[in-house]
Amino acid sequence: MPERGFLGFTTLSGRVGLGLFLAFCLIALAAPALAPLDPLAINYDASGGMQRMRPPGGDFPLGTNYYGRDILSQIIAGSRVSIGVGLLSALIIVFIGANVGLFAGYFRGWVDALLMRLTDIAFGIPFFPFAVLLVALLEPSIWNMVLTISCLLWRSVARVVRSQALSLRERPYIRAAQVAGASDLRVMYVHILPNLMPMVLLYTAIGIAYAVLSEASLSFLGFGDPSLVSWGSMLYDAYVTGSISRAWWWTVPPGLCITLFVISVFLMARDWELIANPRLAR
């Protein structure tokens, strides 16, 4: 039995990941108080000129963008949308995926066939064309973004949980519970699911990373909510104003934040993977 450590974080990299992740979450939670300026306000100088494309320094630690908005404030405000969409989507992904996998693996037979064909369909749908279609039918908003992401990305969770449930359902203690008269739901949620939790947690972490990346990609393509700032939409604005090659201070901060956040989650997931699959530990 490996040492559990703090929340399962036994390695240095896992703890660094956790630290980064918590820091990002704190910034996202306290965003309105932390942002020095209104992220959507257009800043003017004393003579009434728009302060556009200012390099970092002075009143604007990270400079301003083409519209005269403060980049630092946008980064801080954008963390809310990016991380919020990521966390919420990951929760929905894991909720759907774990339940689909659990039912398929436990009941087998036609339930399994039906749910797994559904999963195959989810695997068959290409992500971005589907997202474009959904946003065109609905409207750009963060809720539709969460819907799009969680509509498709539960598929890998479902497959993994199913294969685990298929193996766990044959354990003698499952039969012991059935012989004692336990209902199917009781066996699934009391005996099988808790033994899958390390795996589910691991997929939650991976789901957060994928959801954040998907949010950034969709926003970069212009499918984000135009009234909200996110890291992805900052890159989109830089792109459509042709500033990507002219203002590094506009593109590097959101790119770096996306990268660091995804890395922090993967570092945590690596440690959880040691718990889910102890044979990896040496």
């Binding site: 003698p172 004692a180 008269g181 005996h191 808790p194």
Partner: protein, 258 residues
């Protein structure tokens, strides 16, 4: 006059179909499980004895023939009748390592059947779990309630499994190879415990094993199973001293001489 049987198998058959091939796992088996008596069922792996055990606890239903529980057809039991059956007939499994949920403390494992059947408040369930552990000769029972399975020896785990089977106050136990994964000293203890439960509590016991050496002083009746059918039945003495069937003779010859 023998007591009323708890479970009566009447010409029971079980067939499986796998890839178009028919497998007759159990063929025309009849017997009674009677309170206060031990029926030993001996056979090699693949002889159908585990399928038979599964039918005794209604994990499988027969393809033909009938299983009667207190006179009612087991296959048609539903609702309250089925719950009554689940309380009356319990099973002990071969693998004492796999048959306990590794995340559950002993007290939770043993009390779970009570929870499933909605019996007693939390504190009462704990008391009854402790009492069941004592009945399975884990003393003091209360000291084991908070232990996790990996803290226990194989013999202790099997006693926890027996306590879980006893906690509902069953009338019959089905033990499928309950000692084959235990070491020699633990085996004798578990067998003595099962015999005591049969004699003192009047339980009916079906004891399924591949090892003819275990049945000697323990079973009241022995059935030898081969390819899904009972080929020979009798008292242990008769089976061991005057085997009628070639297969039985080979099983006896396979008993290691101590």
């Amino acid at each position: 006059m023998p007591a009323e049987p708890i479970l009566r198998f009447d010409a029971v058959e079980k067939r499986f179909h796998a890839r178009g091939k028919r497998v007759d796992a159990v063929r025309g088996v009849s017997f009674d499980l009677v309170p206060g008596r031990v029926l030993g069922i001996v056979g090699q792996s693949g002889s159908g004895k585990s399928t038979l055990a599964n039918m005794m606890v209604r994990a499988e239903t027969p393809s033909a023939g009938r299983i009667l529980f207190s006179g009612a057809d087991l296959a048609t039991l539903r609702g309250a009748g089925l719950k009554g059956f689940r309380r009356a007939v319990q099973m002990i499994f071969q693998d004492p390592f796999g048959s306990l949920n590794p995340r559950f403390a002993v007290g939770r494992t043993v009390a779970e059947p009570l929870l499933i059947h909605g019996l007693g408040a939390s504190a009462e369930r704990r008391d009854r779990a402790a009492a069941a552990l004592e009945a399975a000769e884990l003393r003091p029972g209360a000291a084991f309630l908070d232990k996790l399975p990996h803290e226990l020896s194989g013999g202790q785990r099997q006693r926890v499994a027996i306590a879980r089977a006893l906690v509902l106050g069953p009338r019959a136990l089905v033990a499928d190879e309950p000692v084959s994964m235990l070491d020699m000293s633990a085996r004798a203890g578990v067998i003595r415990l099962l015999r005591r439960l049969v004699e003192e509590e009047g339980l009916a016991l079906a004891f399924i094993t591949h090892d003819l050496s275990l049945i000697g002083g323990f079973c009241d009746e022995v059935a030898v199973m081969l390819e899904g059918a009972f080929i020979e039945r009798g008292t242990p003495e008769a089976i061991l001293t005057r085997p009628q069937h070639d297969y039985t003779r080979r099983l006896i010859a396979a008993i290691p001489v101590p």
